[in-house]
């Protein structure tokens, strides 16, 4: 067999690699009940929408972005601008989004209990408070697990950002854990074999590792080792994919790249668009730096400007490619920032009320749902919990949000916990 591979061209060899070695190596059969070719053969037929989730880490100030309070002392230095929706204004650093307000659903009455970043982000990603005894799946993992992957070789879920704090697949199959991309400009690093390493030799290496590792894996068979086995197999499959160009944003022309902005968030959104176009179901793009406890007005223009360029370009691009109808775009953040300006010229944590944005598949366009009170301090009716927000996202992308799924410990969980979708927001 090795001679055959050695004489074959690269493409054939890769296919051979995928067909035989990947399965033989890394003990895919060790995974109880999970067939090796799951994504290809017996995965559910993909239905429902894609999701691109822009995660504003650090807690985005609602008063300085989507819920300004002109004329109030609490507004600080941020001026307001009119949007395409009558009577609705945004903070001055979101001019492009103000021009697209008629494509958005803006929720101004989100509310949560926790003012701690990690716990708040965990809740936003999973609908559940963090517990020691169970790890809950993130929204994207739920969606891929239930609605299915769209591409055979590409992952179902990609995270542009830091994987450490991400709950990932929770108690679901590790196959639906997001693949982290550290830097959107560099795509998936080390995805290609070194030039000197032939496919045949790569395959030999895999087989050898598998053979030597058999005793250890047998002795410690369990979820930890199985998760690694699975990840090795996925890495091999991904290396053989013909769609790797999806990860390479340098293939976009310069004007397109500039439109999204040169920030990590902008380039991440461009990567997200390419990935969704190529069949990735969910992409989360993280953008840190919103935790503005001091000197808020020094930092806000840049940060909000990045968001404005990135989200506006993403929406326009998805629309012009006919993808907005099948893709739900979400802007979320763990909580809001205090209307009261602190002694360091910043705003502190404020869980009582904050804003989120939805656009595209399954949601109305040009809607403001809920409001905060005059000072931006608490919801003024129509309060939306994080669980409600997530149930709405689920319902909008065609997820059976009411269905309960059993974790291995036998307890039932729902994608939006006890939350209910906001009917007024759904299209």
């Amino acid at each position: 067999m090795s001679r055959l591979i050695a004489s074959a061209d690269d493409r054939i060899a890769r296919r051979t690699l995928l067909g035989s070695a990947a399965k033989a190596a890394f003990g895919l059969t060790l995974l109880d009940g999970v067939p090796a070719g799951r994504a290809a053969a017996d995965a559910p037929v993909p239905t429902g929408a894609n999701v691109i989730y822009l995660m504003m880490r650090g807690a985005m100030s609602h008063l300085d972005t989507f819920d300004p309070k002109p004329g109030r002392e609490e507004q600080g230095e941020t001026r307001v601008i009119a949007t395409t929706l009558p009577g609705v204004s945004f903070g001055e650093h979101l001019p492009r989004l103000a021009g697209l307000a008629d494509r958005l659903t803006i929720i101004r009455s989100l509310t949560t209990e926790t003012g701690a970043h990690e716990q708040g982000t965990y809740l936003l990603r999973t609908s559940y408070p963090e517990l020691a005894s169970v790890r809950h799946p993130s929204l994207g993992s739920w969606v891929v697990h239930v609605l299915g992957k769209r591409s055979r070789d590409l992952p179902g879920y990609v995270l542009v950002g830091n994987g450490n704090e991400h709950p990932g697949c929770g108690f679901l199959d590790p196959a639906v854990t997001p693949v982290p991309v550290a830097d959107p400009r560099r795509g998936l690093e080390n995805i290609r074999r070194p030039e000197y390493l032939s496919p045949a030799n790569f395959e030999r290496r895999l087989a050898l590792a598998d053979r030597i590792d058999r005793d250890f894996r047998g002795h410690y068979a369990g979820p930890q080792i199985a998760a690694y086995d699975r990840m090795y197999a996925d890495a091999v499959r991904l290396m053989g994919s013909g769609d790797l160009a999806a990860f390479d944003i340098s293939r976009e022309d310069a004007p397109t790249r500039e439109k999204y902005g040169t920030s990590r968030l902008g380039q991440g959104c461009l990567l997200a668009r390419r990935l969704v176009e190529s069949g990735v179901r969910c992409v989360e793009v993280e953008s840190a730096g919103w935790d503005m406890h001091r000197d808020l007005w020094d930092e806000l223009p840049e940060k909000a400007g990045e968001l404005d360029a990135a989200l506006a370009a993403l929406l326009a691009d998805l629309e012009s490619r006919g993808l907005l109808a099948s893709t739900l775009v979400v802007l979320g953040t763990e909580f809001g920032r205090s209307p009261k300006i602190n002694e360091n010229g910043g705003r502190d944590h404020h869980p009582a009320v904050f804003s989120g944005v939805l656009a595209g598949a399954g949601v109305k366009a040009g809607l403001v749902y809920g409001a905060s009170d005059a000072a931006g301090r608490t919801p003024d009716g129509d309060a939306v919990s994080v669980a409600d927000f997530n149930a709405t996202i689920a319902a909008a992308c065609g997820f059976p949000w009411q269905q309960e799924f059993l974790a291995p410990n036998g307890r039932p969980f729902r994608i939006g916990n006890a939350g209910k979708p906001i009917a007024a927001v759904l299209a």
Binding site: E73, G115, N162, G163, N164, A182, R211, Y228, W297
Partner: protein, 652 residues
């Protein structure tokens, strides 16, 4: 003989492919793989350090009997638990498992070939105790425990633009090197005054500069294992802490100031919201802004770093404007009050910050001892008696209260000598058993039939692989307090713009990111990586770095390191430059294998990477590989294959 064989081989002999053309005699008819053009390893890392890397506090060898006694007490207790619950203890470690586990646990890397071999061949009956003691006084111990604390304390060099915290990081490392008592260095951190290069312990208070309430939350979480953060905004939903109690505790440290001569004016809308520095600083900043163009931004940050100094002046704290409970009114002044126990009598008349600090570290505050005892127990055994280690509360009781209290008592008896405590734990029979699986979702508590199976931490993976490459992973060390003081300090009372610029330029030559990168690349650079100890690298590292791929903390969250698999870490092991570097000419493993007779090659590769001899089946597989392709490729493949086993990544 080697030279002869090398010459016989046609073409250049470099790196992975040329590797072992000499050492492996197996003849081959297959054409050699195309030769890669690879970078060379930097020379400095291929030469062992010429002298001691650092002086580490010595271990007291005469205490061996006491350590054994303390370890036996823990073992007796666990044996009782095993009987009670019908738990079968795991198999005791054999020598090769022992040396691998112990070097990973205490030095944060796998043992070298020589180290493993020497241990296996050593016939002395007390070789296990001797190994433990040798490791605990090695520079690698300092490096490894620095990594542990860096994750707990979120150590970063520039957590905010105006903070220069290298001195604090150096001070933490030094506290480990000199094995200072834990309660002492904690007290010093909580009460230090000055600028970071004058009194580096201030770094702890500066880490959350500008966020006095989160500072209290994080401090209590890390040092007392208690989460009161929820109570910052409202009464804790599932613990007993009220918002009023949170403010009472925060009142102790409300007088902490972090600006030199702080003349901070509350921001009003429409006014400049920035803190107003003292007049001299303000004048300097204005002049720099007018004169220095593009350089003015970083220069102003440099000035502000010099104007950052911790001091304490009693001040009161008020409840928030939206305080909603009946026991007090919004904006009421809060009297300081601790969460439990008493402020020690000796400091009743001291300032609030001193009272708080003494209360935290006091021997009568047993929660302080419990927290550190549990944290280190988890580090060694893999699972805490309370999990998570920073969430002690009534509804989350310890899995074995008696053991936890025993360990807290041990910590106090040892005068908070954390290293001696580690020495006791790793000397227990329970620890010196094969790892067992732990299911955190199980309703049944973990019974410590052995330590829990874990993947290596990111730093352990990195330092282990660097150890297969570099004879000297210490070519660069973290800057010392004096290094920073020399180029950072400005006398703000007398400085002119020219003085500031001169010092700023010196600072940038030494600590500017570009200069630092150039220096590190020169010393130990290889294909964009620095082949040096993880503990000595700039921190936090960029998201795409090998260490971050393997889950190293971003230094934003407490205990933020992770050990879960991801695609990028596997791709890095498959195709990344770190794996290549192991196979370069001059790497430790290359040289190790080159020196062996052919029949020893397989053993040498196994001992170097997995710290054990190959089984009969392993040997068959390896020999088949070496004879199937050309021998060099075969050996390269064997090294690669062993690095890509679960056995390599997991600690058994």
């Amino acid at each position: 003989m080697i030279g002869e064989l090398m010459r016989k081989r046609a073409g250049p002999v470099t790196g992975v492919v040329g590797m072992l053309a000499a050492a492996c005699l197996a003849a081959t008819t297959a054409p050699p793989e195309p030769l890669p053009t690879l970078a060379k390893l930097p020379v400095a890392v291929t030469i062992p350090p010429s002298g001691p890397v650092m002086a580490v506090a010595r271990i007291d060898g005469s205490r061996r009997a006491r350590v054994r006694r303390e370890a036996a007490a823990i073992d007796d207790h666990l044996a009782g638990r095993w009987r009670e619950h019908g738990v079968e203890p795991s198999t005791p470690l054999d020598d090769s498992q022992f040396v691998r586990r112990m070097v990973l646990e205490l030095a944060g890397r796998i043992p070298s070939y020589e180290e493993a071999r020497a241990f296996l061949e050593d016939a002395s009956p007390e070789k296990r105790d001797a190994l433990i003691e040798r490791l605990l006084e090695s520079p690698d111990y300092v490096s490894h425990f620095y990594n542990h604390w860096a994750d707990v304390l979120r150590l970063a060099e520039r957590p905010q633009k105006n903070l220069v915290l290298e001195p604090y990081l150096a001070w933490i490392k030094d506290s480990i090197r000199t094995n200072r008592r834990y309660d002492e260095w904690v007290h010093e951190m909580l009460t230090a005054d000055g600028r970071p290069w004058e009194n580096p312990a201030v770094g702890f208070q500066l880490r959350d500069d500008g966020m006095p309430l989160p500072y209290v939350d994080n401090t209590v979480r890390v040092l007392l294992g208690t989460q009161i953060g929820c109570a910052q905004c409202h009464d804790h939903p599932f613990d007993r802490w009220t918002q009023h109690q949170f403010y009472e505790l925060a009142a102790f440290t409300a007088g902490t100031r972090t600006r030199l001569n702080a003349g901070i004016r509350p921001a009003k809308p429409g006014q400049d919201p920035k803190p107003v520095p003292p007049p001299v600083v303000r004048t300097l900043i204005r002049e720099i802004r007018e004169e220095k163009g593009r350089k003015s931004g970083p220069m102003i940050q440099f000035i502000l770093a010099n104007a950052t100094a911790v001091s304490f002046k009693e001040a009161s704290l008020k409840l928030p404007h939206d305080y909603q409970y009946d026991d007090a009114r919004p904006l009421d002044r809060v009297e300081p009050e601790i969460l439990w126990g008493d402020v020690p009598a000796t400091v009743r008349n001291a300032d609030g910050r001193e009272q708080f600090a003494r209360w935290v570290v006091s021997r009568s505050n047993r929660q302080f001892a419990r927290t550190i005892a549990n944290r280190i127990w988890k580090k060694v055994m893999g699972v805490g008696l309370v999990e998570p280690v920073d969430d002690f509360r009534d509804q989350n009781p310890p899995s074995d209260r008696e053991l936890l209290e025993h360990l807290a008592g041990l910590m106090i008896r040892l005068d908070f000598d954390v290293r001696e405590y580690v020495r006791v734990l790793v000397s227990t029979g329970a620890y010196q058993r094969r790892a067992v699986l732990h299911d955190p979702t199980s309703a049944e508590p973990f019974r410590f039939a052995g330590p829990a199976l874990r993947r290596m931490t990111a730093e352990q993976v990195w330092d282990s692989i660097v150890g297969l490459i570099a004879r000297n992973p210490w070519t660069v060390q973290r800057p010392t307090v004096a290094d920073v003081a020399e180029v950072a300090a400005i006398d703000l009372r007398t400085a002119t713009v020219a003085d500031v610029e001169r010092q700023f330029d010196r600072f940038m030559v030494r600590f500017g990111p570009a200069a630092r990168q150039r220096r590190y690349a020169r010393e130990c650079g290889y294909q964009g990586l620095w082949l040096m100890k993880a503990s000595e690298m700039p921190t936090p590292l960029p998201l795409g770095h090998f260490l971050r791929q393997f889950g190293q903390s971003d230094r934003e969250s407490i205990d933020g390191g992770r050990t879960v698999p991801t695609i990028p870490q596997i791709l890095a092991m498959f195709n990344g430059p770190v794996t290549h570097a192991t196979l370069e000419e001059g790497s430790v493993i290359y040289e190790t294998v080159m020196q062996r007779d052919p029949e020893e090659v397989v053993d040498a590769v196994f001992l170097s990477i997995l710290s054990r001899e190959p089984s009969a089946e392993d040997r068959r597989a390896a020999v088949e590989e070496l004879t199937a392709v050309d021998s060099a490729t075969g050996c390269g493949n064997l090294v690669w294959a062993l690095l890509n086993t679960r056995e390599f990544l997991f600690i058994q």
